[in-house]
Amino acid sequence: MSLEVKHVFYTYQEGSPTESHALQDICLTVNEGEFLGIVGHTGSGKSTLIQHLNGLLKPSRGDVLVDGLNINQKEAKGKLKELRMKVGIVFQYPEYQLFEETVEQDIAFGPRNLGLNDTEIRQRVQDAMALLKLDYASLRKQSPFDLSGGQKRKVAIAGVLAMQPKYLVLDEPTAGLDPKGREEFLEEIATLHRKGMTIVMVSHSMDDVARYAQRMVVLDHGQIRLQGTPREVFSNHAELEAIGVGVPTLTKLLLELKAKGLNVRTDLIELHEIKDEILRALSEREEMAKC
């Protein structure tokens, strides 16, 4: 079971003088259970791409398959709700979509749209809040607008989790948060992944993707330019620089050290493995100097 994007093209305002090709021949598979990072800068087509994953946008050309169901075909029409249930999307700054009087009601909005009964809805709200370590008893009656920024965002995400999606797509989930909030959030997302949820995370932070994603794609001008594990992708540093997304800070450091003649591996990501590698290379250089 997987999300499959097959040769998808998407054009905004087709036929008008302002038409723009947001996506061009995108082929991408999101396997169940994986953590995929999508990187690219503003205007690269990231947001357009994720809106295809649950049928908010229909491709101009090509197919999108959710667990084998083609969102283009007629049979998908009646199943749109089922589709939205399978693929949950958390948009940028999701706290700006909160509207209910209490946290509980807001999180219940999705399940209620699915037509579930009250007991099921309550169960789902509790589960979703537990997943993000939000305390149900103390928060349920509070107004979401009285919470702090980070809490608000968690409530908004819980609203999507309450749909119990199999695939969770997050668009810049840490945008605008302070470092403390960012760290917490990324950890929560990693936890969701460990619990078996498939995660697609859109980000422009190479450092975040490097740390959490198992596989990543780099989008540029509506096309996939690079694809693979972070280590594989970061080895194409020249291309990454040309696209303008850069490489993680420490990868850049390793590359520059190597260029200066220090014999270090450049495909490392973890802080501690980089430290060890540099120390190893330094002692190796000393040995050589002694000879």
Partner: protein, 265 residues
Amino acid sequence: MLKDITIGQYLPGNSLLHKLDPRTKILAVLLYMIALFVVNNFWGLGAMLILSIVVILISKIPLRFFFRGIKAIAFIVLLTVALQMFMTPGEALWQWGFLTITKEGIRQAIFMGTRLLLLVSLTSILTLTTTPISLTDGIENLLKPFQRFGMPAHELAMMMTIALRFIPTLVEETEKIMQAQAARGADFESGNLVERAKAMIPLLVPLFLNAFKRADELAMAMEARCYHGGENRTRLKALKYGVRDVVTGVLCLCMIAGAFFTRFI
């Protein structure tokens, strides 16, 4: 998509009309409206039609922009024409059941229809040749004399400017919220009127709350930039009447005089 809506349909250009002072244009349109309702026979209406065509030609604005404006009010025009045609009492020309078309009715229908069309065309010339900023400046300036009677001229203009500035932002935001709620299974497209109205709540509540937050932040940013109302405030582009404005003014007066004159033909 919502984004396709064009707001403040200004069309850049450098025709004589583009260069006129906005105040001149606003006053001219007002006088034109008066003239349009002063004329009461076909001589007068014909003259107004010719005048309007000349003005449209001077503006160098492609005709399709006028058709677009006309299309928007087509329903009202047709309704007016139909009402005039069937409801005016007089000499019957044609009858079918309770529907009667009179000679006077046809005359009235042509008159009202043409008046409406001309009115729309000429007011769209005003907005097509004037940037929203100079339009607000013009209105503020023209309302200034009424300020001493308590008319908040500057505040009105400031409100218009801010509204124009934020409409595109709010449209974009509406789209984003709609998508987010749709991803949570909201349905904005089906259902009866009550259900649809209900579906708007998840859209309107965040939209309003965000708008208030924006207003709050904007007010602070404006204060930080020394905004303290219209008093002692100057403008980057001060409005100034030129020779062409004087000439236009004289022509407008001639138009009004001419309109009255046609009543005696």
